[in-house]
Amino acid sequence: MQADGHARFAASVLPHLDAAYNLARWLVRDGHDAQDVVQNALVRALRHFDGFRGGDPRPWLLAIVRNAAFAWLGARRPNEVEVPDDELDAALAIGAPPADPESLAIRHAQRREIDEAIAALPIAFREALVLRELEELSYREIARITDVPIGTVMSRLSRARHLLAIALRPQATRSPA
């Protein structure tokens, strides 16, 4: 690639480095590992930049970061990315359905509690939530990045929020851990 190609790549991609790192950090849940993932992703992105036909580089980059994170996890912590469906269902069954609608009211949660609740989500739910709430991508963009139908994005997002609501429910109404 020519030097001006590098410059063009840097100008398109580096402004989104925080978003790339944020996604990697939430997926692998470790700062150091997230840096590895972002580096892998950037090398891959650079190689494929010729194939990038313009438009918004952010979803394009995030898709590459996401795939790099899954490849990274698949090689090192495969149990985190191979969550069987029945386990996802079990995660949902824990708190459903709430007997008392009031119990879903969210405490005045602290940042740390919210972070922990997000980090505890199964990865399929976590990535949908992070892409939507923190990166503010549309359902369509999230579907493209995570390579699932829009309907799946909707249900994952909804389930993610449901699990968060349970985790952040006022202490008194939660069953003891």
Binding site: M1, P101, L104, A109, R111, I114, L129
Partner: protein, 280 residues
């Protein structure tokens, strides 16, 4: 959760079309319980959006990537030539010292070579073998290339750094449930640098690392699928890397490198006949 939540979320996320949105607003006005649920969802969303941590990229990473993307000087600096480099000997870690500075630095030479190779059209090389292609999974080749580049760029490329096959082989056999052929081929121009374990197609594989000229070659070895056809071979270009897959003697080999296809083939021809022969 129930289906209503999907609709409430879609409304919150501004993803409903006008008709659906109006219909849902009408329901909300008529159903206090639904309205309350909607408010709860909105509160949760606000809490997450305002309070969840947005992790900013560390300065070190940013600086690193800026260096990587700095204009490539021409001609690109050549990495250490193996002819000039001392033979890798047991007990030292010359690999890390000599190779990693340019590899982890994503030096111009490496990035430039990746980019050059990436534009090579595999069909133009004319060395596809159609039948074998279908027999072996493209996904696995792709995974092997990822493992190879990962090892080159940021990871631990080698767990046991040694050119001594009598060191590498016991190290691997102690950690794997199969025995890959391990042989130093320095006389043939392919010094063995070391080995590590890696994961390929969900299986633990041995990754032997050879050098040829300025190129690093990863040789992944794992037991072949029991029902895999014997003695199949596929060669291809995956993301700019040459890949040769071969099953021989009950083992599935995958050779990955940016070295030219002929030299990769030479190594494959040297290594694979040793599979299952007990020759070590």
């Amino acid at each position: 959760m129930n289906d209503d939540d999907l609709w409430l979320d879609a409304l919150l996320d501004d993803e409903l079309d006008a008709a659906a949105s109006v219909a849902l607003q009408r329901r909300l006005a008529a159903e206090p319980a639904l309205q309350r649920r909607f408010e709860e969802r909105r509160a949760l969303r606000e809490a997450v959006r305002t309070q969840a941590t947005r992790h900013a990229a560390p300065e070190a990473l940013r600086a690193h990537l800026q260096t990587m993307l700095a204009p490539v000087p021409a001609p690109a600096p050549a990495p250490a030539r193996p002819e000039a480099a001392p033979r890798v000997t047991r007990g030292r870690a010359p690999w890390r010292l000599r190779v990693l500075p340019w590899a982890t630095g994503l030096g111009g030479a490496l990035v430039a070579s990746l980019c050059t190779l990436a534009v090579v059209d595999p069909a133009a090389l004319g060395w596809h073998r159609g039948d074998a292609l279908s027999a072996l999974q493209t996904a696995e080749a792709s995974e092997a290339v990822s493992a190879h580049t990962r090892a080159l760029l940021v990871d631990h490329p080698i767990e046991v750094a040694s050119s001594d096959q009598h060191t590498v082989r016991p190290w691997l056999s102690a950690r794997l449930n199969f025995v890959p052929p391990v042989v130093d081929l320095v006389a043939q121009g392919y010094p063995l640098i070391g080995a590590r374990r890696d994961v390929l197609a969900g299986q633990t594989a041995a990754a032997l690392v050879y050098r040829h000229g300025a190129h690093v070659i990863s040789v992944f070895v794992r037991p072949a699928e029991p029902n895999a056809p014997a003695d199949v071979e596929a060669t291809r270009v995956v993301r700019g890397f040459n890949v040769i897959e071969r099953t021989r003697g009950g083992l599935a080999f995958c050779f990955v490198s940016d070295v030219n296809p002929r030299d990769l083939q030479t190594l494959a021809d040297l290594v694979t006949p040793l599979a299952g022969t007990g020759h070590q």
